[in-house]
Amino acid sequence: MTRDADSPTLPAADRPAPSGDHGPGRERRPSRSRSGSRLAARRNRSAAVLLAPFGVLFLAVFVIPIGYAVHQSLFRVERSGLGFGAPRTVFAGLDNYTRVLTDSTFLKGVGRVLLFGLVQVPVMLGLALLLALLLDSRVARFKRFFRVAYFLPFAIPGVIAAVLWAFLYMPGISPLNDIGRSIGADVDFLSHDVILFSIGNIVTWSWTGYNMLIIYTSLQSVPKELYEAAELDGCSGFRIAWHIKVPLVRPALTLTGVFSIIGTLQLFGEPMVLRPMTAAISSNYTPVMLSYQAAFGLNDYNFAAAVAVVLALATFVLSYGFLRLSTQGSR
């Protein structure tokens, strides 16, 4: 009970509490602290009431399912040799985790999304930073139009964006193939070597504007006097951008970086949409696809749960590491 209890208006708030139980000879002080604690209890109760609806749902949707998944990942369903009789669930310890970490398709999937993230995240964030800086600079016109134009793809659901780009990759329908052929570059967007870039393009298209807006917003909160001083010293726009603005939006870049890393590990919708069109995407192309395939293709819920837990841990480690790394560098 800190700041609020000391606030000057509190004695007034005490007024409704009747003070019949203390005699005229006693000091006022003790009664005040007693009614203060009653007030505190009342306010704690209100806080609990306000927190309860979210809290209950949070338990039901986050805490309990995660606990349940961890629990499931420690068991295994055993069927008797001939497949007769009811399957039995037995405790498996960390066997499922050993299976996940030694599964070559899982490791390949992880390698694939890491490679994807190493290329796609810097490209996307670099583009977002460039656009934010350009829109913040004095030489840009039509800022409002551009801001909306860049942000618009974010309003398109990921799956629909993937369906849309799938058409743009489809030979026969795609105008991109026609354009490519006319300048002598015949690219098959769905081929084995190119497919990861094609997926990266969909993600970049969808999320650049969103990241740009976060960076742009943080640029807007920088006091303008800062640039004016640098300008008086004869700094060019480029040098102001690089030496003053970029360091100032570092927290925003860190934030977008963390969200992008999280997004990379959960890559799922885009490859799922492109899958029927190409042989280059297998049913366990990314780790989340593998988990889905294990649960719904093979009915191996225990293995699927272990994959989900490993991925959640990896997400935590990677985003936490990135946070540490980027805050360390700024000191």
Partner: protein, 302 residues
């Protein structure tokens, strides 16, 4: 990171609000920047343009004509009829389902997040920071990773393949609680709530009549983000809903798209995609304006 939302709410367009700044860029720099910005805008807008143009084409024109321009016949009305008549008109049902999931989910999620965020901002109870840290940690858990555990739990409680299996998870937004807390701290003055207490108002009444109104710009932001988040969440309904009458639009279009190899209903998928995108884009642009005016109103107070 913690300054992010306040910064956003306090922002004002420098070109308009600030006194006219000296324009120092040369005209060459201005021209090249504008050309570059337009070229990049092309990257973001041309696919949407392609979708609009393609929704007016017959199957034949989709393959035969220039992708970025209209075909020989204008087939939009035909295509729309086809989309809504296909498989006994299930597309309309998907549209309504999506609106139900996103509308109800986002509204409830916003209200609950506002309550929790306000409580975390204004009531200094024991363990408050611990509770907040757990909620923030949940922001880092990607939805697809949560969907499988949710599915396992839902299938053991018999909720699988019901509307609730998608609605309940949609009503929770830890990120919204974070935003609501930061915004409540900045925009709901203690003097005001204390004054209301003096007048004898109960805590809940103070929240519903005073705090909720002061927090409304942040609530629009939370609602918008949650709406888009639910509309975007593909993995959860994919896992939970086996019965196509309960699918949201995205799942239905995903299914139609996955059948393309056997069923050449390209026109239907393209037009259906456009229909699924248009309401959201309009809502987005409209809400952005509302959001912006809300933000500038909020910035006057803080």
């Amino acid at each position: 990171m913690s300054t992010q939302p306040t910064a956003r709410h306090r922002r004002s367009d420098p070109g308009r609000a600030a006194p006219p700044a000296r324009r120092r860029g040369t005209s060459a720099a201005r021209l090249s920047t504008t050309v570059l910005l337009f070229a990049i805008a092309g990257y973001f807008l041309l696919p949407i343009w392609w979708l609009i143009v393609s929704a007016t084409k017959s199957n034949g024109d989709l393959f035969g004509s220039n992708g970025f321009w209209f075909g020989s016949h204008f087939h939009l009305a035909d295509n729309l009829t086809k989309v809504f008549r296909h498989s006994d008109g299930i597309f309309g049902r998907w549209l309504l389902n999506s609106l139900l999931y996103c509308g109800a989910g986002a509204l409830v999620a916003t209200l609950f997040a506002a309550m929790a965020g306000y409580a975390l901002a204004k009531y200094p109870f024991k363990g408050r920071e611990g509770v907040f840290a757990v909620i923030l940690g949940a922001v880092l858990i990607p939805p697809p990773l949560l969907a499988l555990p949710l599915y396992l739990l839902a299938s053991s409680t018999g909720l699988v393949n019901t509307y609730w299996s998608v609605l309940i998870p949609s009503a929770v937004t830890p990120f919204g609680v974070y935003l609501a807390r930061v915004y409540a701290e900045a925009s709901v003055p203690d003097e005001l709530t204390d004054a209301a207490r003096v007048d004898g108002a109960g805590e809940l009444r103070i929240f519903f009549t005073i705090a909720l109104r002061l927090m409304s710009p942040a609530l629009v932001t939370i609602c918008l983000f949650q709406f888009v988040g639910i509309w975007n969440n593909f993995f959860l309904p994919l896992m939970m809903l086996a019965d196509d009458s309960r699918w949201p639009l995205t799942l239905g279009l995903y299914f139609w798209n996955s059948q393309l190899r056997d069923q050449p209903w390209y026109d239907i998928v393209v037009t259906g995609s456009l229909v699924s995108v248009v309401p959201l884009c309009i809502a987005f642009l409209a809400l952005q304006r509302f959001w912006r005016s809300g933000l500038s109103a909020g910035s006057l107070k803080s």
